[in-house]
Symmetry: C2
Subunit: 232 residues, 2 copies
DNA sequence: GCCAATTTGTGACCCCGGTCACGTCAAATT
DNA sequence: AATTTGACGTGACCGGGGTCACAAATTGGC
């Protein structure tokens, strides 16, 4: 499906681009809808597109030699993935999978790279985004260092709220990841995540609201557990 | 201590730079020696230098809230760290510590950034390096997904050989990391790493050679264990 | 609105790596 | 040379999370 410059400009990465650059990119962009669980980017192959998420949620996942899934990061609407293709010709290192029905905008790698090189302010933006990804991965890796497992889960939950809306002492996560999706992010079993969620629910800290919404009723307590000031 | 353009050109990142760029950078560079365990870059502060490793070995480490160390990556001679400062003004996310006595070349961030922007081929190089770091972190994270612990250690050892010299069916690691340094890379206890090393030594797969050299006598077997085709 | 497919919930068992407590050893420091 | 420091080695114990095996609930597809 065709894409307008207006649509492109709704992404924070592309928004600062001058009109002409957007018009240059639009012909090389296409909107694609994916069902839940569909593979958006494939590991091991050279990807020729950068993938901008319009709606839904994606997850970067790797696989160990023995077939175990490894969760690497979530992609929220407005963000993007597959940007490594802008920097070199090596294959995409990880899979990207739609964890909910999603619509994504593919932008062909080469035109985007052109725009990036011509427009020096744009390479700044892309570079900043890549740097931000390194920071995110560092935080995520640090989470895995926590030996107290409930603490680890609370920390992840807290990060997920950051990425979504957050009020003073409560918050919500729209289209929350499944327990299994959280589990692979944290090197835990699905059952363990379920048990922590149960504990948090019984303490009225979190609360499910229908299929696509998780309410954080007591953000302060969640942070306490995440920071290890209190044991679950 | 002052630094010559020749010294700068010995780093793979800076080597492709034209002579004039190197002369532009040299006045803003300095060579510093660090003792083992010294802190080279500090987390949480805005770093004004990019750090090129001349000799020795560095390790990027984070700390969890409960004080546990988290190993993120190793820096080998010729490589560099602290490059995120080139992309934004956010603080350095992790500590970088000298795991052996080391000499590093600090290059001031702003001049290097200038060179990078003027010389478009240079931003490519820096961008490629940053992309490479993301790939490394992805591989490292995937290692943590292995539930078989000896396999995890073997995988890490294999990566360390890659970074150093490697022959057909044997190899060596110079200035090998301590067991503890490996342990924090893999979310393991120091004792567990020691036990795996003992097992590998008794099978004549690895062999210590004095303080600063670890010989991989049977690379094929190590790879077998790393790939889970055989259990330790 | 119904059915198949996921997801979530929960108990029991068990293994394995963390922790603790040492001892040994080599290298740096005095 | 004596002392200290930190790395390495090793055993015993134990607790917590993985695994397995289900049941229940929720969801999406038609």
């Amino acid at each position: 499906m065709q894409v307008t410059p207006e649509l492109l400009s709704r992404f924070t990465l592309l928004n600062p681009l001058p009109r002409e650059a957007l018009e240059q990119l639009a012909p090389h962009a296409s909107l694609v809808r994916y069902a839940r669980r569909a593979v958006v980017l494939r590991a091991g192959v050279r990807e020729d597109n950068v993938c901008f998420l319009f709606e839904g949620r994606l997850q970067g996942v790797g696989f160990t030699i023995d077939g175990r899934e490894v969760g690497l990061y979530f992609v929220e609407p407005g963000d993007f993935c597959g940007e490594l293709a802008l920097f070199d010709d090596n294959p995409q290192p990880e899979f990207v999978i739609a964890t909910t029905a999603a619509s994504v905008v593919f932008v062909a790698r080469n035109p985007l790279r052109e725009v990036m090189l011509q427009n020096s302010s744009v390479s700044n933006i892309v570079g900043r985004k890549l740097a931000e990804r390194v920071r995110q991965m560092t935080v995520q890796r640090t989470l895995l260092g926590l030996s107290n497992i409930p603490q680890r889960v609370c920390g992840q939950l807290y990060l997920l709220i950051n990425e979504a809306r957050r009020k003073d002492d409560s918050g919500e996560i729209v289209n929350p990841p499944t327990h299994k999706e959280i589990a692979i992010m944290l090197n835990l079993s699905r059952e363990t995540v379920t048990r922590v969620f149960q504990a948090l629910q019984s303490r009225r800290i979190i609360q499910r609201d229908g299929p696509g919404r998780l309410i954080i009723a007591d953000l302060a307590s969640l942070r306490h557990f995440a920071e290890g000031e209190e044991e679950l």
